[in-house]
Symmetry: C2
Subunit: 286 residues, 2 copies
């Protein structure tokens, strides 16, 4: 297991943690301010959102690299299926490819992919996952040609209905295998898997599927809102060390990305303090 106590070379910031820049949440910092603040603290990388990057993907990517960091990823694909997806598969594919284009311009290693919820009328996770697999298989070649890996992220089962019929690493690995593209890997987020004591067992079947991302936050004991009340590492009930050990034992050696959606707490704080807290917690409890 890697030792993070001395530096932040393996730490990445998902900019959602500062309340999504340019959205009137958090301090409303510009991408440049976020880049500089992370670089000053020795972060290894950044993960940005499409809405923050706008038409400036290339420029922002260059700026991140000039500051000595990587663009570890871009959030995110459209929901592929379910009640929050576009009305047609062709619209979904179009938006998916636009996300790939932005990731490529930005120089992001990975595009995070969210499955979307259960297909209306199907009453079936299995059928919905099949639909996800088909769409992924169809978009993977374009992403591969553009040098963008697809990081398929199982979400917490609480999102099963509308945001993600994909809720376990087990099912994500099945999709990776069935979609027939080596360009698809998985992303593992503490928020989504912290409860799953079968994680190690599931990762033992990883085979040649790659873990493309590892996301940090914490699950608060009394979570008030399952979307926007994530905790800072150490403030919740997750076994952060154990989860990281399991993920690293499965071969992951990339950046650890802090992603905290926290409308009533961290998004209201001074972003300098938020970043300092992240650094301190990363070195001590992750």
């Amino acid at each position: 297991m890697r030792d993070f106590s001395n530096d932040c070379a393996n730490l990445a910031l998902n900019t959602a943690t500062l309340g999504h820049m340019l959205e009137g949440r958090g301090a409303g910092w510009s991408p440049e301010q976020v880049i500089d603040a992370c670089a000053e603290r020795g972060f290894g990388g950044l993960v940005l959102w499409r809405r923050e990057v706008g038409g400036r993907a290339f420029e922002i990517g260059e700026r991140v690299r000039a500051a000595g960091m990587q663009v570890a990823g871009l959030c995110r694909s459209p929901f592929l299926v379910g009640p929050l997806a576009f009305n047609s598969v062709s619209e979904t594919v179009e938006d998916f490819n636009a996300a790939v284009d932005t990731a490529a311009e930005l120089g992001a290693a990975t595009l995070t992919v969210v499955a979307g919820g259960v297909v209306a009328g199907s009453h079936s996770m299995s059928e919905s996952l099949k639909a996800v697999t088909e769409i992924l298989a169809s978009v993977a070649p374009y992403a591969e040609r553009n040098g963008v890996k697809l990081g398929l992220e199982p979400l917490h089962p609480v999102y099963g209905g509308d945001r993600s019929c994909l809720v376990t690493v087990r099912d994500a690995l099945a999709i990776c295998r069935n979609a027939g593209s080596k360009n698809i890997g998985i992303a593992i987020d503490v928020y989504h898997v912290w409860w799953d004591l079968a994680l190690e067992e599931q990762l033992s079947t990883l085979g040649d599927v790659r873990i493309l991302g590892y996301h940090l936050c914490d699950w608060l004991a009394h979570t008030k809102d399952t979307l926007l009340d994530r905790g800072m590492m150490g403030d919740g009930v997750s076994d952060l060390r154990k989860i990281r050990r399991v993920v690293e034992d499965a071969g992951y050696d990339g950046l650890c990305e802090v992603e905290i959606f926290s409308e009533d707490d961290w998004w209201l704080r001074d972003p300098e303090d938020v970043l300092d807290t992240i650094v301190q917690r990363f070195k001590t409890v992750c």
Copy 2:
């Protein structure tokens, strides 16, 4: 798979579905009114709550049986561990035994057991489950002597922090084995397991552990509140038929208990209509 299309002999009502009698929620029916209304419709049983039964357990149990139904269960044990548990194990055991006494007086076949959340400071589901196992092992003999089975119910992972460190059938089976008492079995609730495509695989390791209860409701695609916004069977995204098939294939042949906490919808409706809807859905979509 059993055919439910012709009668309700295998249908039980969990009285929470009518807003917990005697609580000012729902129509505020008396236990007698609920018993009569269910008996009229041919229900096979009732599951009651401690707070509804008060000191009248024996009397109410007799009344249920006189109406031709069973008391399928009593809800519920105190949280065994975690932030919502009593301050001491001795208080927990005392309250647990009081619940067993009520179940015995009522003639309830099973007492539903909830684990409680992650033990404060442990940051560990595994350690918390060990504590649950220890307490269960210590209380099981008293329940057995009183003829009350303990139905250990894994809850949805969204409750992992505060209400249940036990979130999968897999982990429930491990507790049953480790607690060393044949008096402990598991309860399976659609709301808690609907997302878990590994359910069949997990139940294949059932061994001599018994399934003591099967609970019906539905997971609404856009769940507004994870505690009090459960759906009526057929209104959500769960694969009800498949889940029942898996549970019956694992040997379950008992009552199917409808348990719908629904503050803003079903609890506001006329209980006669709620019961009629349950009967219709039970015969057609479960």
